[in-house]
Amino acid sequence: MTSSTGVLPGLLDTDAIRKDFPILDREVNGRKLAFLDSAASSQRPRQVIDAMSQYYERHHANVHRGVHTLAEEATALYEGARDKIAAFINAPREEVIFTKNVSESINLVANLLGTADEPYRVGPDDEIVITEMEHHSNIVPWQLLAQRTGATLKWFRLDDEGHLDLSDIESVITDKAKIVAFSVASNVLGTRPPLEQIIRRAHDVGALTLLDAAQLAPHAPLDVQALGADFVGFTGHKMLGPTGIGILWGRQELLQDLPPFLGGGEMIETVTMEQSTFAPVPYKYEAGTPPIAEAIGLGAAVDYLQSIGMERIAEHEHALTAYALERLKEVEDLRLIGPTTAEERGAVLSFTLGDIHPHDVGQVLDEQGVAVRVGHHCARPVCLRYGIPATTRASFYLYSTPAEVDALVDGLQTVRRFFA
């Protein structure tokens, strides 16, 4: 097999979809762009760009505190976006908090646990559990929390195949654990760990759970009630939405019990110079003027995703991943990092190519219009684990095509020739 002339089963009608994404028409270095870097940040359809422009052109004003018409329209659009996102993850609207990105969502929780009252407060005798597979945004906040509170940071290790090693789950998650935070889909390995097993163990010992769903929410159905975790975070720019917006979902009772994080306008009930009381959730965690246009853009993104269907998107990416795994086998000296079958992974393929440094791989691919990410992908411990300085990563989304996989494979052959 050397090209994708036959249509793969499960693919979406990408011809139609790609018409909605102006940037995918671009040329790069005189070649048609093959954008294989959606795991870093996806592109946006015209519907999302237009929703934001129209908002600014027709309806903008600050939200909540106005009685004038624009303020009411802006508030209705902003809160309407919250409704859409709540429906998208099957949550009550009060449990959907707008943040600036998932990094902030995670930091928010880590900070709360540092200042909360019992039983949530993390103290010197407590343990925080993460995994070796995490993005820096789900490592550093917990390191900082551990430093500030004296708590101990522990983690699950990766096995040689890119799976979490859960064989010692009972000694990693003990009854000293206050929080277990982990990614439901790795941005380097594509690994999707067994959520239920980890969540069950965490709850058995009374620990809270936070799921980093940055790489899942864009690609598959996400039902926070079914998952049974306490917090779930994800980020707008990876799911067709704008930059500058992320989501933290949390159980309402919990959020009500926990202290505030950032203070300011919007999050208060009443303020005197001496003291303040706080608004109910979600507003308690939304200090200052919120990302209004960004929320509206993310609402439009969610509409778009749902018009295609998350199940269909997952199928499409699955088919592409299977195809890519097959085709990459043709490239000599290519070493895939992480699980080897499409069943075990998301549409994220990291690999090394002989001893050619990923920077050089990426550069030569770019020359051919193929955009991939190179480096440690903000998950340096994964590279350390597998003894490699960095990887080249190709990632797919609903607009990706087999022809782009072919362009990648051809590009890699050119790279090998170039550095031969």
Binding site: H64, R65, G66, V67, A71, E72, T75, A76, I268, E269, T270, A279, Y283
Partner: protein, 159 residues
């Protein structure tokens, strides 16, 4: 003028001459704030009657716009002399009306008028989301105060 649908004469009358305003003795007192605009109300409920379940008085001190003032006045008309259960049921119907955003409700106009009396004048307010909270402030306070008063009553009984 579209405004007239919100500022009906009935509402302006209640605003200018609020019924039952002022703080008198009560079995429970609550303080509610609308953080959006700073409207505030302190509201007391006094229970009585054979089973201690009848609202004998609702007294209040409040600060706010015409809508929130008028709403407290209408509330006073609608609930004093009724049982807590009746008052809360009336409150639910008022809430329904306020959340209708000007759309048709399942109930007929006659039925609404029967239950809400002057309260149906607030139908026009439902079209202004930012003002709905003003209209609901006193009703939220009532719900809170009534449930506190009932609880105290029960504690007294079982003590």
């Amino acid at each position: 003028m579209k405004l007239d649908s919100m500022y009906q004469d009935v509402i302006l009358d209640h605003y200018r001459n609020p019924h039952g305003k002022g703080l008198r003795d009560g079995d429970a007192e609550v303080h509610h704030v609308n953080p959006t605009c700073g409207d505030e109300i302190t509201l007391r409920v006094r229970l009585g009657g054979a089973d201690g379940q009848t609202i004998e008085d609702v007294s209040y001190a409040s600060q706010g716009c015409s809508i929130s003032q008028a709403s407290a006045s209408v509330l006073n008309d609608l609930v004093v002399g009724h049982t807590v259960a009746e008052a809360l049921a009336t409150g639910d119907v008022f809430l329904e009306l306020m959340q209708s955003r000007g759309h048709e409700l399942d109930r007929s106009d006659e039925e609404l008028e029967e239950i809400l009396d002057d309260g149906i004048a607030f139908a026009g307010v439902a079209k202004y989301p930012a003002r709905v909270k003003c209209a609901l402030l006193s009703w939220m306070a009532l719900k809170d105060a009534a449930s506190q008063a009932v609880q105290k009553e029960q504690e007294r009984k079982s003590a």
